[in-house]
Symmetry: C2
Subunit: 259 residues, 2 copies
Amino acid sequence: MEKRVVVIGTGNVATHLTEALLSAGLPVAMLFSRTPRHAAEAGQRFQLPYTSDWSELPSDAGYYIYSVSDTALPEVLERKLAPEAIHLHTAGSIGMDVFGATKPRHGVLYPLQTFSKNKALNFKDVPLFIEASSPEVLGELNQLASLLSTKVRTISTAQRRQLHLAAVYACNFVNHLYAVADELVQDSGLPFEVLIPLINETAAKVSELTPRQAQTGPALRGDQGVMDKHLALLHDHPQFRELYTLLSKSIADKGSSNL
Amino acid sequence: MEKRVVVIGTGNVATHLTEALLSAGLPVAMLFSRTPRHAAEAGQRFQLPYTSDWSELPSDAGYYIYSVSDTALPEVLERKLAPEAIHLHTAGSIGMDVFGATKPRHGVLYPLQTFSKNKALNFKDVPLFIEASSPEVLGELNQLASLLSTKVRTISTAQRRQLHLAAVYACNFVNHLYAVADELVQDSGLPFEVLIPLINETAAKVSELTPRQAQTGPALRGDQGVMDKHLALLHDHPQFRELYTLLSKSIADKGSSNL
């Protein structure tokens, strides 16, 4: 594959995607950010040409990948650019209709993963969900995606939206609960690290058991005595109490609907 | 160590503890459950003597480990049994005062982990938090615990209670969010397995970054457009909507308090 790739955006997703493209030996022609400093940082990070000026972007690349915030995407796509190229966005919750008539060959390359710039990961294991404007574009996109990851799957916009929603629970909300737990153990003078084996095992369990089979704890057992003690310990944390009450209720309801 | 161990209880914790005792080469004298069927199942599982009759328990073992529900524990401890032995419970939220004057040598062996009978794990990696009625008992308990795990730490009852509370967030509540995500991806006709790399990476990140550094997603970015779309997708799941709203608010508040 000799088609050159332009990456628009320099956030967490764009950074890991650029790294994956380079690891796969694909030619990345240029990196773009509207913010000159971000463009320069990304260019220096990867030793690649960069710009924050639309007019400097090459018009003859094969792929333009837009990895910007959902709010910035429509504005970014207003730019007239390389009408023959394949234009791709990476957003979970945005349809394909965001590409106007000026970009007839388009699609979505949605990586279902949590990316932080300073946390390395193996992109080959990241599930990539693709969708395209035509079977021909889908074929090309599938080729591209398969160079980046071993886990490529074609899905619809509706499925992708639902996946994105599920990912908010399985990742963003989960991580927030880690943050709450972090604060609670630190309150007691212990380091967050004591929770790491528990966190890892909780994640590992659902590769072998369904989440429902894996559920444990006082809410599932209906152990009101323990739950009352826990709520008492949370007297200085009204927001954590609210979370405790709602999540416990949700566990209890789900558990009983299983009987 | 030739002191024999009696395990009272046959639940998830007791099962993994019994396995760990045997793996460490410790002599388990007998398994006990008040429910004859549970006692028999446990005895057959481990090929060990078992009973559901208190009078059949040996009175000359070195350790009696009570791994029963918090509500059953006080009643179980009323039994007069081996006043010279060391008596231990494994509960996160129960103090040492639960042992009466008839069991002067006592302590706590609290494993900070999520156990399901049908999910194997390496007990050597399970953090064990210990507490004892005297320095002498603590020394013996530390020896015992160190045969079971490489991660033994002495903490107070107050710290253990706080750890148990933190574990509910980092494990029980996290697993419940996996269950919610499971339901959402299945709604869209995709299997839960597509979320596994995301779940594993979310857990792995907090070994390298603090949970606050690892946080991503629409609530942190304040992306109301995405959040509104997600809430709209949840119209048939009022309880999931409630969780979405409360967790997003909690993320936003925590994020801003970090500025």
